[in-house]
């Protein structure tokens, strides 16, 4: 399913938009003008990558500085060890759409436990 995220014009370069689905997904607009979508939750702990430091095609986690490659989801260094999922992005009529991957997400233990427990 394609989910509309936001208008491309509303997402300046260097910024991220968090799509509040479960688990959340973030759309990044790089300084080079490319658009990528990855899982928003860091695989180490409960941090939002949309709050991170975007540089080139990498985003640095705001808490402990592991970096994720927006193109592949790969992580560069500890403390995170697992990649995030990447999602297909489409821009149509100025709107960014995301097709959420059907792979299982690599959620950090604290978030996985919370989701397993169901809504509070």
């Amino acid at each position: 399913m394609m989910i509309p995220a936001c208008r491309l014009a509303d997402l300046p370069r260097g910024e991220a938009f968090r799509l509040d689905i479960d688990p959340p997904v973030s759309v990044f607009h790089t300084d080079d003008g490319e658009v990528f979508a990855i899982d928003d939750t860091c695989t180490h702990q409960d941090a939002s990558l949309a709050d991170g430091w975007l540089e080139g095609c990498e985003v640095e986690c705001p808490l402990h500085s592991s970096k994720f490659d927006l193109r592949t989801g790969a992580v560069d260094a500890p403390p995170a060890k697992l990649p995030v999922r990447t999602h297909e992005v489409m821009v149509e009529d100025g709107v960014i759409y995301v097709r959420v991957s059907t792979d299982a997400p690599n959620l950090p233990p604290c978030v996985a436990a919370r989701l397993a427990a169901g809504p509070a």
Binding site: S48, D51, W53, L63, H64, S65, P78
Partner: protein, 385 residues
């Protein structure tokens, strides 16, 4: 360069070994560590691991199947560096000849004189320390933490969550005043009182009482605080004794340039044992934080492989985080050089704060409590060259 020896097999040592391979070094790589464990992560030792939420397997720093093509000499202490022979001497009499040496021996917890051999008294630096403390905390009782720094505060916070009765004793009038300054040190350490953890400031510890097991902490003002468990969190000292007489200049750890190069060619130092020159500060500073131990080896390895032919880049300002009582605390920069600190966003009373430290109006440091997004923006701004 045909052989590189990395001494110290923790975060900085592993990061150096990884950088070497990533930067194309193809020769022999020997990693020497005195602990028997594979490289593991220390921050959870005072947090999730101590609380029982993470197990030992979760602490591993290496990823599954990672192979750095290194020889691992674990459970082996380095006792000397022989500059003439270009060799690292080991406690078991062996030696490792190497053209390049990375010093990554970190720091060790300071202890309290006279506390050796008294049951119930702990420090917290290693996995073995954390296991012992975790097992005792599980029995409950009264915990006295000596030292209101980050490790002490995290232990207090974790123990409080486990239902333990906690008192923190701090000799300075305000905890954390060193790293955060008086004002913000006070704000962060107010977290203790929010949770009913007693904080006694401005009073030194005279000693411990107990026959075989500790039963109280004796204060200099004559008070005696009953204790079943004591954690001594009074800082760490760099592990550099093994370098004495080697020709590597020592001064509060290993004295290094802005790229980790030491006074000996072919020898670099990284992590908690290294006193790096900080061009932003115009002075040397030894930083005991995770992110520096993880990142600076990249620059040190580049300098080592280039044999001194490389301009040192501008490192990012020191950064650390701490988790206490469910609050995410983040700090970057140097509070010590500031002349003002202002809360830009949030409210001190809510323990939700973004504070900026300035010197002559120019931002030099930033503190966040539960403000990861804004904090990241400020940190980025501080890092601009």
């Amino acid at each position: 360069m045909r052989t590189v020896a990395v001494v110290g097999a923790s975060l900085a040592g592993l990061s150096a070994a990884r950088s070497l391979r990533k930067q194309g070094y193809d020769g022999r790589l020997v990693v020497i560590g005195d602990e028997t464990h594979r490289p593991y992560d220390r921050p959870p030792l005072s947090k999730e691991f101590l609380a029982g939420a993470l197990g030992e397997a979760d602490l591993a720093l290496e990823t599954d199947g990672e192979d750095l093509r290194a020889e691992w000499l674990l459970g082996t202490r380095a006792t000397g560096l022989d500059r003439a022979e270009r060799a690292v001497r080991l406690a078991d009499g062996r030696e490792v000849r190497a053209d390049g040496v990375v010093i990554a021996t970190g720091a060790a917890a300071r202890t309290l004189p006279g506390s050796a051999g008294l049951a119930g008294v702990h420090v917290l630096r290693t996995l073995d320390d954390a296991r012992a403390l975790r097992d005792e905390l599980a029995l409950g009782g009264r915990l006295v933490v000596i030292g209101g720094g980050f490790i002490g505060a995290e232990v207090a916070s974790t123990a409080y969550a486990l239902g333990v009765d906690v008192t923190v004793v701090e000799v300075a009038p305000t905890p954390l005043a060193g790293p955060l300054g008086e004002t913000m040190g006070g704000v962060v350490s107010a977290l203790h009182a929010d949770h009913g953890v007693r904080l006694l400031c401005g009073v030194g510890v005279k000693g411990l009482s107990g026959e075989t097991r500790v039963d109280a902490v004796l204060l200099e003002d004559g008070r005696s605080i009953p204790a079943d468990i004591v954690v001594v969190g009074v800082g760490a000292r760099p592990c550099v004794e093994w370098l004495e007489g080697s020709g590597v200049e020592l001064d509060n750890g290993v004295k290094c340039g802005a790229d980790g190069r030491t006074s000996l060619a072919g020898v670099v130092a990284v992590g908690d044992c290294a006193n790096w020159y900080d061009p932003r500060l115009g002075a040397h500073r030894r930083v005991e934080h995770w992110t520096g131990a993880r990142e600076r080896p990249d620059a040190a390895v580049a300098a080592l492989l280039a044999g001194g032919e490389l301009e040192a880049g501008m490192p990012r300002p020191p950064y650390f985080w701490s988790d206490q009582y469910g609050v995410k605390i983040q700090f970057a920069g140097h509070a010590g050089v500031s002349d003002s600190v202002t809360v830009e966003v949030g409210a001190v009373d809510d323990r939700n704060v973004l504070a900026v430290y300035r010197r002559a109006g120019v931002p030099v440091a930033v503190l966040g409590m539960n403000q990861p997004r804004l904090f990241m923006r400020w940190r980025k701004q501080l890092s601009a060259p």
